[in-house]
């Protein structure tokens, strides 16, 4: 950006803002990892690809369906574009998440966890490479049109905050509050917590376990789609669906879930922001080339010294 040295306070504020913005996306993705882990006890490797799908579906809706690619010159996109694209992406990814669980994971419900992990890697590779097909998204990077006007909404300590950043930081918070309510205040949430605690007992108590698992996948995928939508809004240059960038984003979100304590919904939110801030502080004040290294170093440290994560409970393997 600027070539002259930044004012230290300005730099810090900008770094924190960027960290929070990306942290919110990590948190949204991490929620999907952690909810699935809480219930099925396996890492849904394909989750990062659902996030990618969310970003690309947003692009398809904005450019191919709503024909908004010229809006930058035509005075901005209409106001209803943001909610329509967001809900469309969430709906599409929710459906895909449902199908993935039904077709790939459900037949393996009783299989060893390693087999499910391998299946998940297979699903991940399948989503990436189907996305690369010319009839789907194509093998080239694309550019997302600006759905929001480039207006500065407020200034924080001298840093201008455009309306995009307000949405990118605000939407995850709103969605997380909603999720918190859903999981801890509703009957569905109670059923989810029951299945996570003990699926057999929950089934005996009359919980429809299969339906709860499907619901969890739909919910997690929809949250990942929201993160993908926000990512496309903030970083408008979308890499092709099988690009390493997407996998790294998904992996960092997974690290966020582990750091927070996998299986713990509040931990995933905390971990998301922690990883986002850590990454951007490292880039701003240490060496920017190593931005991926910091996150994995934290993962290894957490796994060594506090394997259950910040908010998780340690479990003992029983024989």
């Amino acid at each position: 950006m600027d070539t002259q040295p930044l004012d230290p306070l300005l730099k810090l504020t900008q770094t924190l803002l960027d960290g929070f913005a990306v942290g919110g996306m990590y948190a949204l993705i991490a929620l999907g990892y952690t909810m699935v882990y809480g219930i099925l006890k396996f890492i849904n490797f394909a989750h990062s690809d659902v996030f990618t799908l969310g970003a690309w579906v947003s692009w398809v809706l904005a450019v191919r369906v709503l024909r908004l690619d010229g809006v930058a010159d035509a005075g901005g996109a209409p106001l209803w574009a943001v909610p329509i694209v967001l809900l469309g992406a969430m709906l599409a990814c929710g459906t895909v998440g449902f199908l993935i669980e039904r077709l790939a994971y459900k037949p393996l419900r009783a299989a060893p966890r390693l087999n499910v992990l391998i299946t998940a890697i297979g699903v991940s590779l399948l989503l990436q490479n189907v996305g690369q097909l010319r009839v789907v998204f194509g093998p080239y990077p694309k550019s997302m049109p600006p759905l929001l006007p480039d207006v500065t909404l407020l200034h924080v300590a001298g840093v201008r905050v455009p309306v995009v950043d307000v949405l990118v930081i605000g939407l995850p918070l709103v969605l997380m509050l909603g999720l918190e309510w859903l999981i801890f205040r509703t009957r569905v949430g109670l059923a989810m917590r029951a299945v996570s605690y003990n699926p057999q007992t929950a089934a005996l108590m009359g919980v429809n376990v299969n339906r709860v698992i499907s619901f969890t996948f739909v919910l997690g995928s929809a949250l990942a789609a929201a993160a993908g939508f926000l990512y496309a809004l903030k970083y408008v240059g979308l890499k092709q669906p099988a690009d390493t960038t997407w996998v790294m984003l998904g992996l960092k979100a997974f690290v966020a879930a582990v750091v927070g304590g996998i299986g713990n919904v509040r931990g995933a939110m905390l971990g998301g922001f922690a990883i986002g801030l850590l990454e951007f502080l490292g880039v701003a004040y240490l060496e920017p080339l190593y931005r991926d290294v910091y996150v994995f170093a934290v993962l290894i440290l957490v796994l060594l010294f506090r394997p259950a994560g910040l908010l998780g409970r340690a479990t003992v393997e029983k024989v």
Partner: protein
């Protein structure tokens, strides 16, 4: 595969112990010489290149079988070890050649020379070959050291966490190697710089280029023979039984006195060593190495070979490595033929990864133990089962 199998069957025959333990080396050298002097002139340069690719993939797949198959762990960062080995070996052979011979040009003997490069009147084994072997061993040792460093703390982790840590490791290796300083190309600069500094100048994002070409069918199939012999003998040894015990039930293995972490680390270190050697062979095959090409996609390719071939079957993963190396060539010609009849809009893309991923999913649903499971191909042919699976 068949050569190594015959060697171990010969070993059952009660030869003198020295010959018995040396037999795999003789067989591996024989296999290498056979491929180099008999097969290569017969098949031509292109098919020889495919055979070399197959060999390198066999080394990778069989080495990963030690960890993912025998020991039941799940490593998905194997390409990271390959990259480390390739860079370490490349640094030694490139800077070593410049220091010893004045330039990074080929300085080997007949065993490192392919007929397609023209006739060659040099010695059987040149000074460059010695350097090349030293480079391969160094590459293996560097990768093994990294395997130890990664393995020791992270092998206390259970399956899926370990998978993520190895994936993270592979990506860290890639990022670090891609941000190394530019390489030195002037002989005077190389002579002036001390060795520790030289090992850091690895070309960064552009890749480490200009390495001498030494990898031939001889070297590749020498290593393939040794790898297969090690893997098959390991599986029948007390070490191998400890690995298999960990795979079946870690808690029970520990109760029976298997030091699980120590054995897991040993499997990891051995696999990393072999992957490092494979990386060294790869680097000296194409004359350069770029960590950007050895990301998790390459790791997943090796994992797919192991999973489809059979988790714990040496012959199964060998077979899978052969098939999965030939498949893209086959697919390319098939889609190429179809595409000539299709308009540009509807041309078929590279379907390889879509087929692989579907095969992976279907295999897990229909036959989760892989094509061969834990058994070897000759277990069927002879009609006996060594151990129930």
């Amino acid at each position: 595969m068949s050569a190594a199998a015959s060697s171990s069957r010969a070993a059952d025959g009660g030869w003198v112990p020295a010959l018995r333990s040396g037999a795999p080396v003789l067989v591996a050298v024989g296999l290498g010489l056979l491929m180099h002097f008999a097969v290569q002139p017969a098949v031509g340069a292109f098919k020889a290149r495919v055979l070399i690719d197959i060999g390198i993939n066999i080394i990778l797949a069989v080495s990963l079988t030690l960890v993912n198959g025998f020991t039941g762990q799940f490593s998905i960062g194997h390409a990271g070890f390959m990259a480390l080995g390739g860079y370490a070996a490349g640094a030694l052979s490139y800077y070593g050649s410049i220091r010893l011979f004045g330039s990074a040009a080929f300085n080997g003997g007949v065993v490192s020379w392919t007929a397609s490069q023209g006739t060659f009147g040099g010695p059987w084994v040149g000074g460059g070959d010695v350097l090349f072997v030293a480079a391969c061993l160094t590459g293996g040792l560097v990768a093994a050291g990294a395997g130890y460093l990664v393995g020791l703390p992270s092998l206390r982790l259970r399956g899926d966490y370990l998978a993520i840590v190895t994936l993270g490791f592979g990506e860290i290796v890639r990022v670090v190697l891609q941000s190394t300083p530019a390489q030195l190309s002037q002989a005077a600069d190389v002579a002036a710089a001390p060795w520790p500094l030289l090992t850091l100048k690895l070309g960064g994002a552009l890749g480490f280029i200009g390495l001498p070409f030494y990898t031939t069918l001889f070297w590749v199939y020498l290593v393939v023979g040794l790898t297969l012999a090690v893997a098959i003998r390991l599986k029948r040894s007390s070490y191998g039984r400890a690995f298999l015990a960990i795979r079946e039930d870690e808690v029970a293995a520990e109760a029976l006195g298997v030091h699980t972490t120590r054995y897991k680390v040993r499997a990891f270190v051995l696999a990393a060593f072999l992957a490092g050697v494979a990386g060294a062979l790869y680097a000296h095959l194409i004359g350069s190495i770029n960590a950007g090409e050895l990301g998790f996609q390459k790791s997943f390719e090796v994992v797919i070979m192991v999973v489809l071939g059979g988790m714990g079957s040496v012959s199964g993963s060998t077979l899978a490595a052969i098939v999965l190396t030939l498949l893209p060539e086959l697919l390319r010609s098939v889609t190429g033929t179809i595409n000539t009849h299709l308009p540009r809009e509807y041309e078929l893309p590279d379907l390889r990864m879509i087929i692989y991923s579907l095969a992976l999913i279907l295999m897990m649903i229909l036959r989760p133990q892989g094509f061969c499971g834990l058994r070897e191909i000759w277990d069927w042919r002879i009609g006996r089962r060594r151990r129930p699976t």
